[in-house]
Amino acid sequence: MYLTPDLSPLAAEFFVLIMACVVMVADLYFADDEHKLTYWLTQLTLGVAAFITAGHLATEPQVLYQGTFVVDYMAGILKIAIYIATMISLLYARDYIAVRHFLKGEYYMLTLFSVLGMMVLVSAHSLLTVYLGLELLSLPLYAMVAMERNNGNASEAAMKYFVMGAIASGFLLYGMSLIYGATSTLELTAILNSLGHLGQNQLMVNFGLMFIVAGLAFKIGAVPFHMWVPDVYHGAPTAVTLFVGSAPKIAAFGMMIRLLVDGLAPLLHQWQSLLIIMSILSMAVGNIVAIAQLNLKRMLAYSTIGHVGYFLLGILSGNNEGYAASMYYILIYALMTLASFGMIVFLSRAGFESDKISDFKGLAKRSPWYAAMTMFTMLSLAGVPPFVGFWPKLEVIKAAVHGGFVSLAVFAVVMSLIGAFYYLRIVKTMYFEELDEPAKPIVVASDVRLMMIANGMAMLVLGIFPGWILQYCLTAFGL
């Protein structure tokens, strides 16, 4: 007899899916110029989804639906972080996209579908679901990057993003098919168990692993697969960059853990050496090239590459402490990305992008508060205590030292010194330089302003009380 499986663990996913459709339809019938209804409906969806997920927060991992889906603590925390990051990015994006005339209901609908993809991805427990989640996450993003149709840069960025993303998916799929060929299963636990006695298939698995790691590296933008990152970050409308840079990174972390740890942990030594090389290159290229950038969005794109290097440091140390450190890193990183790109969105107006470093000149005189918030964010990105960015850096470096990679840790701190230089340059521009022309007032809605200040203050407050977010990450890995 066929039993209908219990679908309640999927409640949040179903809810987001249904609401995405509702948003799409509602926007057709009830749309006003500002799409207020759709906006609030989307925010509401994410808020309710957060409650549903929080209600189902499981401490014991449950593998469901013939091993395709897993509900565990890590997935829950990552999903909640994804909702929050998305909510903040939508709030920041609202006015920006309205002014640039591409505020359409589709924007919110695409966002929700992308979020759904992320949710599937972090809960995936078979190669098939991983791929499904990844594509569902990526396709709406390509469209969002291209939404500002009359902007050449954005179209170029979308094209590049799409082609690169397709190549990465191709790599990933090829790797997955090789693994499937060797182990004849798609389910991650089954793969894990069969890796021990492969016999002749070892070579095939190693080969597949190379492709999987390459595909992952494409997605997270690790060197040498990073070429698309600066162009996409720069070309995409800032409001979209904001989203691309935050929530999907959290999901990408989930994907890495699922594939490399849940599925391919016995191959630790193989992927470890690959990640070490990528980590070193990312830290070096990201931090050094960022110095030469004059465009703030490009600079932050390279800084992302650098941060990916640090983030990999935790994963490559190959123990639960390191994974927790990386998870902490990515959560804090998403928050810092929101703050930094949020500030660019915040200072831009119709016809003025405010994305050059020189646009921040004299900000401290114009509006001391926003300058202070930006300073907090930059120092946090640089990893200067007492700001929050210091703690994840400390954690991943600690994990690396613990894993026996002391020289790698030394390299990481030297690179963070180089990184400090270009973040400080922003602070310098804001505080020590004067604006040449008379400043235009900064006009923003009060809820956005409030969020911006909360976001900036979070850099300091979480830096002084870093414990609780870290605790979630440690719990997620049973520490």
């Binding site: 001391p368 230089f421 400080l424």
Partner: protein, 491 residues
């Protein structure tokens, strides 16, 4: 005891910041009053879990090394706020707030008993200083402040790695437990040099001293004062809190490195100071030379302990500590004096002055005292520390003392020569002729510093008394070899 002055002042609330500074001072003076000088253990400890899952805690406490430094910091803060009262016109509340935040952080550095807390405060302190130099500094301030920040950041990241390594090894980050952590010679060597880089940048020692003249020259007077009087002390404080007790064997084995660098600082930097045309630069170089005495005193103890002269080692240690405090007052006074002149003339160039005594007799008298103290004249606090260090290092090696002794000539040379060119002679130009003598506010802070300088010069006993127990403890237990396998006999 919490002197974390995190208060921010909005508006033109200079009064409020002065009030906060005075309260902080009162708190730290009461700390002195209630300090139990008979023990080397940490006092007034405060403990709170911060990140218990990682073994990081918020723990503070003071001993004979840190307590005087906290009092010094608080006093200097009051003086800086008085000194900046009328001079700072651009965003004064921000200026005052930066100094208060910085004082809080610096006191925290001296009181921290957790390595991560120490690191957080140590780095956090750079941010207000970065802003102070960058916003209120001189024409080349941006270059200077970036150099300052990056240099110090560079130094401390190696320290961080060393701290993380030990933190993992012992499972928590308590500094006092690190003192007992058994470490092999190889590990000690790495840790010692990691610390050396971090602290040497801060002291600063030759050859990583080049940020100091730039930062000093470009910083506003208050910034220079805090830099010279307190920040430099953090480096030497780091040596006694971390390097000596955590890596005693490596410190003993490589003490020649530090001694050598200290002597280069004393002699070579002393000569460099002679050649300066800029008053602030001259004082900055003289600071480096004076700090050379502190590090010399701290590291010569190994040679002395080996030759069995424990009393001489004690004297060297105390000399170094005394020099730290005394230099804090003297360098602050020197920078303030130059600041007084700069506020009137907007020039730090020695050649723009001459004959100041004719128009500013009161100021000339104060300046004379501080210059003499800087040159190490007996009767001023500048003499005591240097004399003790020279005296004890003579017992270790004649040449140490001989080279260190050249400072008496060089110091007198650059200090008094500068004084002569600035103050004596005929009135050099009409700008000098128009100078007004110091006002009440300026008299106030110069008097405070003059009194302290003379007091400690004539009667060093109270300071020595509070440090005594900690010095004895460090010499008898702290620097005991960790290689013999008998660890923790003293604890």
């Amino acid at each position: 005891m919490i002197t974390m002055a995190g208060e921010r002042n909005q508006g033109l609330s200079k009064v409020l910041s002065l009030f906060v500074a005075l309260v902080t001072l009162a708190l730290s003076v009461s700390l002195w009053m209630h300090f139990d000088a008979s023990t080397a253990a940490m006092q007034f400890t405060e403990n709170a879990a911060w990140l218990p899952s990682l073994g990081i805690s918020y723990s503070l406490g003071v001993d004979g090394f840190s307590m005087p430094l906290i009092v010094l910091t608080s006093l200097i803060n009051v003086i800086v706020i008085i000194a900046g009262w009328r001079v700072i016109n651009d965003r004064p509340s921000f200026y005052m707030a930066s100094f208060l935040v910085m004082t809080g952080l610096m006191n925290g550095v001296f009181a921290a008993l957790d390595a991560v807390l120490f690191y957080v405060l140590w780095e956090g302190m750079l941010i207000p200083m970065f802003l102070i130099i960058g916003i209120w500094g001189g024409p080349k301030r941006i270059y200077a402040t970036l150099k300052f920040f990056l240099y110090t950041f560079f130094g401390s990241i190696f320290m961080l790695i060393a701290l993380i390594y030990m933190g993992i090894k012992q499972g928590n980050f308590s500094i006092l437990e690190m003192h007992n952590l058994p470490l092999s010679m190889e590990a000690q060597t790495y840790i010692f040099f990691a610390f050396l880089i971090g602290f040497a940048v801060k002291v600063p020692m030759f050859p990583v001293h080049t940020w100091l003249p730039d930062a000093h020259v470009e910083a506003p007077t208050g910034g220079s004062v805090v830099l010279a009087a307190i920040m430099l002390k953090m480096g030497t404080y780091g040596f006694i809190r971390f390097s000596l007790p955590i890596t005693p064997d490596a410190a003993s084995h490589y003490s020649w490195v530090v001694i050598g660098l200290s002597l280069i600082a004393v002699v070579y930097i002393g000569l460099v100071a002679l050649a300066q045309k800029d008053m602030k630069k001259l004082i900055a170089y003289s600071s480096i030379a004076h700090m050379g005495f502190v590090t010399l005193g701290f590291f010569v103890i190994f040679a002395l302990m080996q030759s069995g002269s424990e009393d001489a080692a004690k004297l060297a240690m105390q000399g170094g500590l005394f020099q730290m405090i005394s230099h804090g007052f003297i360098s602050a006074a020197m920078f303030l004096s130059v600041g007084v002149l700069y506020d009137r003339m907007h020039s730090r160039n020695i050649y723009d002055y001459g004959g100041v005594v004719n128009t500013m007799p009161k100021f000339a008298a104060f300046f004379m005292l501080f210059t003499m103290a800087n040159a190490g004249l007996p009767g001023t606090s500048g003499f005591v520390g240097e004399f003790w260090v020279i005296l004890s290092s003579y017992q270790a090696n004649f040449w140490y003392a001989a080279l260190a002794g050249t400072t008496l000539i060089l110091g007198a040379g650059y200090s008094l020569w500068m004084y002569k060119r600035v103050v004596f002679g005929d009135i050099a130009n009409e700008n000098v002729a128009k100078l007004q003598d110091i006002n009440g506010r300026e008299t106030l802070f110069l008097t405070i510093l003059a009194v302290v300088t003379l007091l400690f010069g004539l009667w060093p006993e109270p300071l020595v008394h509070v440090m005594q127990a900690s010095v004895n403890h460090l010499l008898q237990c702290g620097i005991q070899s960790k290689l013999s396998g008998i660890v923790g006999v003293c604890h």
